[in-house]
């Protein structure tokens, strides 16, 4: 099914490539892909650019259908796509958010150094693996009633902190303060609740992970200092989302949206782009249900972080406070949000879809924590388990060009089936161990599918965002220990 794309990509400059509106008569705006020429070659290998053009069909889309350098072929939207629509005549599309609603990343700092960590990595990985449920069909350690899950869906991180999973200050360092206000659990199906109830506080499988890292490069010492980060310091990164609850919310509303497309006479090139006007009951209901799943995901990451702190305290015979286990930030990379942006010199509220893209707000934006006002919003970009990850900050340029959005990770280049073939006869766990990375996974299958070779090099992706000024590099982290589903 692999097929390359040979449509028009007009070079604007070294890192910007435009799909002109004339490519397809249904396009309302042009497409714009951020990439280096090397990455562009990989992007052309599948149909992701066609999907960038398809997104440009959405009613009410403004400016451009955007794609970050980590784009790859998704369903409906490309993974790595950003689209903003107007509230009065624009649409909202569940395909522009994805099945794993509010899949996201959080980064914790520590006071620990590489020297202190080295002898403990193996033990820590084992203990974390035991404390944090992961893998296919994993059930959590939290027992909650039907009424309580409604509370999770309405209040997100706040629910978790009040339940004892974390600190009050964690909320401040979470995008949206860990809670979207328009959430309405009445609009989440029983199926979704039933899938979500036993899975709260689980990592899941696939590309989700928990990683112990060391900062091995500092690009901007001043900003790093403001964030409390320096070379040789240990950090922890958590990547997961809203589990079965979010998957079911997306599935349910895809069905609703198929009907809405007919009802509102919307012309689309792909059914997975199904959408409804933002002002319609279908659109409003989806937004409120999506907000529930987003809140569930923030509560989920909050619980996982809490247990991580407990495990660190146990292994280092200390307390989370003494170990300096503070949350740096938590970002969502599969979400749609109503935000205020400048459009042709006017302030306007837009619905920004980020499907595999991260919010990257600039310094002095009112929606970022007071502590980070001067430096801008931290942006957390994970790489694959064998290479590295980054912490960047948002810029004014992102507000001007990408509705305050940037890339979200490395992006796959190899299908899972192909990865499995390529890895035949190889011991991925041992290969990583030789590179000084201890990996523990629920299944060997996951390890093989998630090996470095299956991904683009995240450094190449991040470099594009840095060179275009969309976001700025602060520090790079190298993995030491990884837990996978």
């Amino acid at each position: 099914m692999k097929e390359s794309w040979d449509g028009p990509l007009n070079k604007i400059d070294e890192y910007r490539w435009e799909i002109p509106k004339t490519y397809n008569s249904g396009m309302r705006v042009p497409g714009l892909i951020y990439a280096s020429s090397n990455l562009l070659e990989k992007i052309r290998q599948d149909q992701a650019p066609e999907q960038v053009a398809n997104v440009a069909f959405l009613p009410g889309i403004v400016s451009r259908s955007l794609a970050m350098p980590d784009i790859h072929w998704g369903y409906g939207f490309p993974v790595g796509g950003v689209a903003a629509t107007t509230l009065d005549d624009g649409v909202i599309s569940p395909g522009g958010v994805g099945f794993d609603l509010n899949c996201g990343i959080r980064l914790l700092r520590t006071n620990l150094t590489l020297k202190e960590m080295k002898p403990k990595v193996e033990l820590l990985v084992d203990e974390l693996f035991r404390a944090i449920p992961s893998g296919v069909g994993s059930k959590g350690r939290i027992r909650i009633s039907y009424n309580e899950i409604r509370d999770v869906l309405t209040r997100g991180s706040k629910w978790a902190v009040e339940r004892g999973f974390g600190w009050e200050e964690d909320i401040l360092f979470t995008e949206e303060e860990g809670c979207m206000k328009d959430a309405n659990p009445d609009l989440v199906s029983k199926h979704a609740m039933e899938r979500g109830k036993p899975q709260l506080g689980t990592l899941g499988s696939g590309n989700h992970f928990l990683e112990i890292q060391v900062i091995d490069k500092v690009y901007d010492p001043e900003v790093a200092r403001e964030l409390g980060l320096e070379e040789g310091q240990i950090t922890v990164m958590i990547h997961c989302g809203s589990r079965g609850l979010g998957h079911q919310v997306c599935t349910d509303y895809l069905v609703t949206m198929q009907k809405a497309v007919t009802r509102y006479g919307i012309q689309l090139p792909d059914r997975q782009l199904a959408c409804a006007p933002l002002f319609s009951p279908e659109g409003k209901n989806y937004y409120a249900a999506m907000a529930c799943a987003a809140n569930y995901a923030w509560a989920n990451r909050q619980c996982i972080m809490h247990w991580t702190r407990e495990v660190f305290a146990k292994v280092f015979r200390s307390t989370p406070e003494e170990l300096g286990l503070k949350l740096i930030y938590d970002v969502a990379h599969n979400i749609a949000k109503i935000e205020e942006h400048d459009l042709k010199g006017k302030k306007i509220k837009l619905c920004v879809h980020r499907k595999g893209a991260t919010r990257a707000f600039p310094p002095f934006h009112p929606d970022i924590p007071e502590k980070y006002r001067k430096i801008g919003q931290p942006v957390l970009i994970p790489g694959d388990m064998g290479r590295c990850s980054y912490c960047l900050v948002g810029t004014e340029k992102a507000m001007e060009e990408t509705f305050g959005s940037t890339c979200h990770g490395a992006g796959r280049v190899m299908s899972r089936v192909k990865a499995k073939k390529e890895a035949r006869g190889r011991d991925i766990q041992q290969e990583l161990r030789e590179k000084g990375i201890i990996v523990k996974a629920e299944s060997r299958g996951t390890l093989v599918e998630e090996m470095s070779d299956a991904y683009k090099d995240v450094s190449e992706v991040v470099e594009v965002m840095h060179q275009t000024g969309i976001s700025r590099k602060v520090v790079r982290m190298r993995p030491l220990g990884v837990i996978k589903g």
Partner: protein, 141 residues
């Protein structure tokens, strides 16, 4: 006739399922999906049984609903399904009985989590030349 084959997609996995009848292609699509989830699953003991009744606007919507319902059952009841009997099937209704094996967390036989069935390139149609039904589905992994 093959029952199904696995399709490659950069980030995800799909299946193409075949059948001499509409019922058969629905059953083979379900078998293909559980092969992705659990790989070899023909020899499982049977200790789970459920009945399914679903409605949709059209045949494609029904295939989407059918596979999603099986995923939901598998995830919430922790079962691998491997026997599918369709009592009644029209273009917008399905009535079926499914069987499979309960699994516990430790003896987990699931290899892969399918997050959802997608509408991306979703297709079900009869090939007039060969008379065979073919269904194509891409999963979000």
């Amino acid at each position: 006739m093959k029952e199904f084959e696995i399709l490659e997609h950069t980030a995800d996995i799909g299946i193409a399922a075949y059948g001499k009848t509409k019922k058969e292609v629905f059953i083979n699509a379900a078998k293909g999906m559980f092969e992705i989830i659990a790989e070899e699953n023909k020899t499982l003991k049977e200790n789970f049984y459920d009945k399914i009744k679903l409605e949709a606007d059209n045949l494609e919507g029904l295939l989407f609903a059918w596979l999603n319902e099986l995923l939901y059952i598998s995830e919430t009841k922790l079962v691998i399904l491997n026997k599918f009997e369709i009592k009644d099937l029209s273009d917008n209704r399905i009535d079926a009985e499914v069987k499979g094996m309960k699994i516990n967390r430790l003896g987990c036989k699931m290899k892969r989590e399918i997050k959802a069935v997608t509408y991306h390139r979703l297709e079900i149609k009869k090939d007039e030349e060969s008379g065979l039904w073919r269904a194509q589905v891409i999963f979000d992994i």
